[in-house]
Symmetry: C2
Subunit: 192 residues, 2 copies
């Protein structure tokens, strides 16, 4: 997606060898025009898969998931909640998620009432790196006996291999921008 | 706001004496049509105050803040980040927020680059009860030397007095729905 590629090149900040901060337009300050354009692009891409609900995980996926769900005709959007410990409840399903960024293990959870069996779930997130969050969301859907029709991502870091693993496992994955490499301060993006 | 009042009466669940769960349409599963309607209502209400940026705090304020900012012509939306400890950085401003729900003290923070001095800030949140989150966001704006032009809320619990305190302090506050009382399983809302 041209607009997003331009934002990454113009506003992405490199920290160290391979960390790209996009918090000036994506996950701390959010450019809501770009956000709406991304939501529409993901909705256009996945509408043929007829999702019935959009799922993300707090916090930074929420804005994009909301825009995408709204652009899909006003679908409900569910955000999985994150906590350090399991808050036991029979109403909930749980999945572990390890964060390489924060070097800690979280548990994510969804109330069973909000994603019914046989729902057609579109998973949305802002970032796909090692794929831990996406795999946690896939596990939640499996436990909920819901069908995942696709995974839509704003920015995929191809060199972190999470996306490759999902595709190899047959997941219908669409990333609006794909970072192929970061070397010597140069970000290389996949062409549209 | 009629649509929101109806959703509270129809889908709000009472827990104990005065806890109202609205997680089926507002802060776990989100009704994105209602969300867009709320965003437009807050944008219409505050557009005369000419905000230049929308500020909220993760997580459950993000979707509404994004919709409101987009409806205000694509303003940037900033969400303050929450953590248990202060991650010291000169780039950030901090404020303490005590959560009565979770009975813990958090610190919220915003990167100084993303809300410039003299910005006209519209604060948005999903809930206003005791007012701790709103007061934390007001303190951040004070530290950033930004002007708060208003505070827009989806649901205010009048009996928790946070809203009264803000109004008494001269804050321009608009809540789309106001819960006056919850007694013996009956929710009483302020009329539009």
């Amino acid at each position: 997606m041209q607009l997003l590629n331009e934002a990454i090149i113009r506003h992405g900040r490199l920290l160290g060898q391979d960390i790209i901060k996009v918090d000036s337009f994506l996950n701390h300050r959010v450019d809501t025009r770009l956000l709406a354009a991304m939501g529409h692009a993901l909705a256009d891409y996945f509408k043929a898969s007829s999702p019935t609900v959009v799922l993300t995980v707090e916090s930074s996926g929420i804005a994009l998931a909301a825009m995408t769900a709204y652009a899909l005709g006003g679908l409900p959007m569910v955000f999985a909640k994150k906590s350090v410990t399991v808050v036991q409840s029979d109403d909930m399903v749980y999945a572990p998620v390890y964060s390489f960024t924060h070097k800690n293990q979280n548990v994510i959870r969804v109330d069973k009432r909000y994603i019914e069996k046989e729902s057609r779930v579109l998973i949305i997130d802002d970032f796909l790196a090692d794929g831990q969050a996406a795999e946690g969301l896939l596990l939640l859907c499996q436990k909920l006996e819901a069908e995942v029709v696709g995974v839509g991502i704003a920015i995929e870091k191809d060199f972190m291999r999470g996306g490759r693993r999902l595709r190899e496992n047959g997941v219908h994955l669409k990333s609006l921008a794909v970072i192929l490499s970061v070397q010597d301060g140069v970000i290389t993006l996949q062409n549209d």
